[in-house]
């Protein structure tokens, strides 16, 4: 076991309670008995400055005889991840909740309960999160004895367990389908007159279990093509995150050119995503002129991506060990032209809107998230950076070529919608600089490492800074060219949990833009639809049949 100052510190200060299992480059694996979990979590949060990322629940009954809950923390100051593993006996599947300590662990713990069946004891809001309301009790889809294509009989007359509004307030529902939300989500705003006094959230309508697919049906090199479809805008981050996690687990050295190509495409994706967001944000507040112009500026980049990758969405590039194709001839020259034009036009657009009084009035002092709240809810990306937290996976946990590139982490104080807008506008310019650097420094050479068989029982994890924030992937390798466990977290999963704090005390009119300001991606959070191959029927359905068909598509 190689030594690591933090690993040594943990052993020294918590010796006997936390056992360091393994230290690899950038990751500390540690085991903590169930009884010491809360104490250890508090220590990691307070003494090590650990930022909670996600819990990965794993059914390891076939390996160690236990369920396992692994809390993954980012020790960002020290450029290290810490995985805190707790074994839970199947006879008593309970664990002490850490949500009272870390509000950002709320969804994570509920998801582990829904999918694996480990009950977080003392959780402040133990309602169902991921599974549909008519899913039978005591049926846990991520357990290994659950067939990935099984269709359980739905419970009759199931209803969402919604919170009652506080006294003297009424309910204003947003969703499940709402004009400014492109995806289904159900938010119940509790309002007193114009003022928002609370809210309740029911999402995960799109949940189709990609993790189960990646563990039960797909091989290592098939998963990137599913992963890149987790998000409709920033898919490359997910395929990169997954590939990197497997590469870490199997200790595969990715060729330098492939690392640079990944960074290049990640930044191209950030540029187009931020331009898309600027447009959408303006659309939310009724400023459709800039909506149209931002998307106009963005379009040539999409065409260029189509030229480079064969698809306007950077699809089909990532494989375990590198990327599948190199830049086509003439791509560098075209990239320079397109990037220059975007820089010029974006600068002109920003210059035009900065003095716009109505824009400022709509964005400033609305949707405020204080640094303390941002920290508590473990938010990431522009949402965190707009609240003054200097978090950026590219700098904190360098991956791809970012360790060799110079760039600035854009941080704004204020925590309001304006601050989050400014972060993205500055990042847009920063990304353009990164693209230029990559083009200047990209070495020649191979783009795909030769990958031999991937050994079982190795763990890897990886963070990738998506336009919306940090994407995290955890992989435990298995046999038969398949992962034993694949856990992923999209940035909106963390950021959405901060929405209640953001909306508290705001007016109804601020709600759409505030929700929009985190650039929520519900399908990412809920992880992609998988459609049944057999359903080839076309006819008009009644409600019952629609529900039936909808459920049937789970297979």
């Amino acid at each position: 076991m190689s030594s690591h100052p933090i690993a040594e510190r943990i052993t020294r200060e918590l010796g006997g309670k936390v056992a360091i299992e393994q230290v690899t480059e950038g990751i500390i694996f540690a085991a903590v008995p169930r009884d010491n979990l809360v104490e250890a979590t508090q220590y990691v949060r307070d003494q090590l400055g650990g930022r909670f990322i996600i819990s990965a629940g794993t059914d390891k009954r076939g390996l160690s005889g236990c369920y396992e809950v692994s809390d993954i923390f980012g020790l960002d100051r020290d450029k290290t991840f810490l995985l805190l593993r707790t074994e839970v006996e199947p006879t008593d599947p309970r664990i002490d909740s850490i949500t009272p300590l870390i509000p950002g662990a709320n969804w994570s713990e509920r998801e582990v309960r829904d999918m694996i069946g480990v009950e977080p004891v003392g959780h402040p809001d133990p309602r169902r999160l991921v599974l549909p309301d008519d899913w039978p009790q005591d049926l846990y889809p991520l357990r290994k004895d659950f067939q990935y294509n099984r269709r359980p009989e739905p419970l009759p007359e199931a209803k969402p367990d919604l919170r009652r509004p506080p006294k003297d307030s009424s309910v204003l529902p947003i969703g499940p389908f709402f004009p400014t939300l492109e995806e289904p989500v159900f938010i119940n705003l509790f309002v007193n007159g114009e003022q928002i006094v609370g809210m309740d959230y029911r999402g995960f309508f799109n949940h189709r279990g990609v993790e189960k697919m990646g563990e039960a049906a797909l091989t290592y090199n098939q998963v990137p093509f599913l992963a890149e479809r987790i998000c409709g805008i920033c898919g490359f981050v997910h395929s990169t995150g997954y590939c990197q996690a497997v590469e870490v687990a199997a200790q595969i050295q990715v060729p330098a050119r492939a690392r640079y190509l990944r960074s290049l495409l990640l930044e191209v994706e950030r540029i187009h995503s931020h331009l898309l967001w600027v447009g959408l944000a303006c659309h939310f507040i009724g400023f459709d002129t800039l909506f149209m112009q931002a998307w106009r500026i963005r379009e040539p980049l999409m065409w260029l991506t189509e030229f480079i990758t064969g698809n306007r969405k950077t699809y089909g590039m990532n494989l375990i060990g590198g990327v599948s194709r190199d830049l086509p001839e003439g791509a560098e020259a075209r990239l320079v032209t397109v990037i220059d034009k975007i820089e010029k036009e974006a600068t002109a657009a920003v210059d035009a809107i900065l003095g716009d009084g109505s824009l400022r009035a709509r964005l400033q002092r609305s949707g405020v998230l204080s640094p303390e709240q941002a920290k508590a809810f473990c938010v990431v990306g522009p949402t965190a950076r707009g609240s003054g937290l200097a978090l950026d996976a590219r700098a904190d946990h360098p991956y791809a070529a970012y360790g060799e590139l110079d760039f600035q982490v854009c941080v704004e104080e204020g925590g309001d919608n304006w601050a989050r807008t400014m972060v993205r506008l500055r990042e847009l310019m920063e990304s353009i600089k990164i693209v230029r650097q990559v083009l200047a420094r990209m070495p020649k050479g191979p783009i795909l490492a030769e990958v031999k068989d991937i050994p079982p029982n190795r763990e890897g994890l990886s963070s990738v800074e998506a336009p919306r924030g940090e994407v995290h992937h955890y992989v435990l390798t298995g046999t038969g060219q398949q992962a034993y466990r694949w856990r992923l977290r999209a940035p909106s999963y963390a950021n959405l949990q901060s929405i209640p704090a953001m909306l508290q005390g705001m007016t109804i009119a601020d709600a759409p833009i505030s929700i929009g300001s985190i650039d929520p991606c519900f399908s990412c959070t809920e992880r992609v639809a998988v459609i049944d191959k057999q359903s080839g029927l076309t006819r008009v359905y009644g409600q019952e049949e629609l529900l039936e068909q909808y459920r049937g598509r789970f297979a």
Binding site: N221, Y315, P328
Partner: protein, 179 residues
């Protein structure tokens, strides 16, 4: 107030300078970029039915089924994501990616490619060995002066199990002859 007016004027100039950018598509064609990956095409003459594409296909839309002396290779392109993994792994270069991106069709049947290839069965037990094209491919790869006896070439008509049985039987026989 004054700042506001300037900002709005700048916005007007910005929009006017851009002019009209909407394309005439679909009334005017809008061909994709040269490297674009559209609907895959299968060269039915080249395909040997080895199934490498079916192994690699992430949406698992390529299926192989053996029945009545024929292997049916089927592509359900309605599920295709045009990732080109099938093309990349095809040993015969039978797959190419077209530039076609308009895939609307009156029926899902129009998005299906079906190819039937004759199978070779084991002459002893009748189990499926491979497609006739694969068998021919293997035969063609054998170097001419290898000096295989006609009997040895005829082993190509045996399935793996029967080959093993026969090899074993012959080895035993050879040993008995020697002793």
């Amino acid at each position: 107030m004054f700042e506001n007016v300037i900002s709005e004027l700048k916005e007007v100039v910005f929009c006017l300078r851009a002019g009209q950018v909407t394309l005439g598509y679909p009334f005017q064609p809008h061909p994709p970029e040269p490297g674009f990956r559209g609907v895959p095409r299968l060269d039915m003459q080249k395909c040997i039915g080895c199934g490498a594409c079916a192994n690699a296909c992430a949406p698992r839309l390529i299926t192989l089924s053996d029945r009545d002396g024929y292997r049916t290779v089927e592509f359900d392109l309605a599920r295709c994501t045009n990732c080109a993994r099938c093309r990349d792994v095809c040993p015969e270069e039978a797959l190419t990616m077209s530039q076609q991106f308009e895939t609307a069709a009156p029926s899902l049947r129009n998005l299906r490619i079906t190819l039937q290839l004759r199978l070779v069965s084991c002459r002893e037990c009748g189990a499926v060995i491979e497609t006739q094209r694969m068998a021919r491919k293997v035969l063609g790869k054998l170097p001419e002066p290898l000096g295989l006896s006609p009997q040895e070439v005829s082993w190509l008509d045996l399935c793996l199990d029967c080959k093993r049985t026969r090899a074993m039987a012959e080895a035993v026989l050879a040993k008995e002859v020697r002793s």
